[in-house]
Symmetry: C2
Subunit: 236 residues, 2 copies
DNA sequence: GTTAAACTTACAAGCGTTCGTTTTTATGCA
DNA sequence: TGCATAAAAACGAACGCTTGTAAGTTTAAC
């Protein structure tokens, strides 16, 4: 057998990247075999090499694409805001919002860095630093303008990032809280943390789904998942 | 060749667990081969099986030991405090303090859960839940006594845990800040987050090392490390 | 002299990757 | 438009290597 009818290179590559993202987020880079990946795509292992150079290149491509898009979208989200408090609120809303939507990408991009070879690792770390700088600049600016009160920019930035990124580990789309509610809760936590009276609407008013709806949704979600290892880790 | 002079079963097992912790934290469970582990200990791969049943059992043993000790030590740290704010401060100090000291254990226990088989995974999750409950109870109690103001217990607890656990990803023992300074910064962030006026001493007064000392220490640390991949991930 | 703890050797399975082949699609020319 | 030809995209088999683990052997310790 050979080329299948209707096979398109671009479509296959897309399927490989999507399946790779899924399997890496689920099992980790090392634990995902190329035969496993190929089976998920519906081709043979060797055929992967019509679309990717190596397994490592697939990983680094996924991570870089995610992080570059992240930076681009963040800049767009921050654009137009000048007041430090506004910018921080925009940052939190953006970070939590996209991390809730792109959990697989986040998982791979944060937990599989150790699988990267030296030079690839260095490049990704540089990207991450660029992203973090957006936050540290907001914090520094807010402090300089006497809008924020906090101790140490770097530690505070890391603390905020870790807190916000944590949502990926427990969020379920059909869970009790809406995305907006989760964003609001975190926004308020962060703003209070840097000493700004938050003016975010309360989650109770806008975001929380009705109890009955949430319960049935949660039950459905539970039943659907394959019982074991739906998720890797949660910070404990 | 065979048994070496001075070889003791207990000592070898300890060395295996320590090396396993180190290698798993560095490269991940899947990426750590038993031959690699054996070499680190100074024995042959087959000899490992005089001390451990399987690779998986080594992992689950390390994780369970860490988490059980964590719960035990937390209960000891909380003992004697009644006021919710005091208890929360004690929690933060304990969590950050031990996580700074036991970074390898934390890494393995939080990032290698996906490598656990079904039943082992379930047991560890149960332990983690017990630990988290200590925090949610403090939060609920503080809210009931009108000492705390926050939105949602579960989300707030997860947010706090993620934030505090994040220190493992960037802390270096010879870095700019002392352990106590880091604890203080996080304590203040958390207490502000739940609406309590913190009375923690400022980091500037007590914890920050002198600039000269920190710089030379940091340089030494950098030179010592093998340049590449000293650390796996940081939440971005 | 029994047991514990190391050794060496080997297995079967799985790994990422390469290669030659086959079939479909796209392209250039009549 | 029709046809030869090149390129694309799949296949299956195989490569050399590593993996976790088992088994039998050898030597030190109790």
């Amino acid at each position: 057998m050979a080329r299948k009818t209707g096979a398109s290179g671009a479509a296959t590559l897309k399927a490989i990247r999507q399946a790779g993202l899924k399997l890496m987020a689920q099992h980790g880079y090392e634990a995902m075999s190329l035969r496993h990946l190929a089976a998920e795509v519906g081709i043979q292992a060797g055929s992967l090499y019509n679309h990717i150079a190596t397994k490592q290149e697939l990983l680094v491509g996924l991570i870089r694409a995610h992080m570059e898009e992240l930076i681009r979208a963040l800049d767009a989200a921050l654009d137009g805001h000048d007041d430090p408090a506004d910018r921080l609120r925009a940052f939190v809303a953006f970070h939590v919002g996209t991390h809730l939507l792109k959990r697989q990408e986040v998982y791979v991009s944060t937990f599989e860095l150790r699988a990267l070879e030296r030079t690839n690792y260095a490049k990704v770390v540089r990207l991450r630093r660029r992203y973090e700088q957006r936050l540290t600049r907001i914090l520094d600016d807010g402090k300089a303008r006497r809008r924020f009160v906090f101790d140490d920019t770097r530690v505070t930035a890391y603390a905020i990032l870790a807190m916000l990124t944590g949502v990926c580990t427990w969020y379920r789309p059909k869970g009790r809280l809406s995305r907006q509610a989760i964003i609001d809760i975190h926004t308020r936590l962060v703003m209070k943390g840097v000493g700004v009276k938050s003016r975010v609407r309360t989650a109770a008013k806008i975001g929380v789904k009705s109890a009955a709806k949430a319960k049935s949704a949660a039950a459905k979600g539970r039943a659907k998942r394959p019982a074991h290892k739906p998720r890797p880790a949660r910070a404990a």
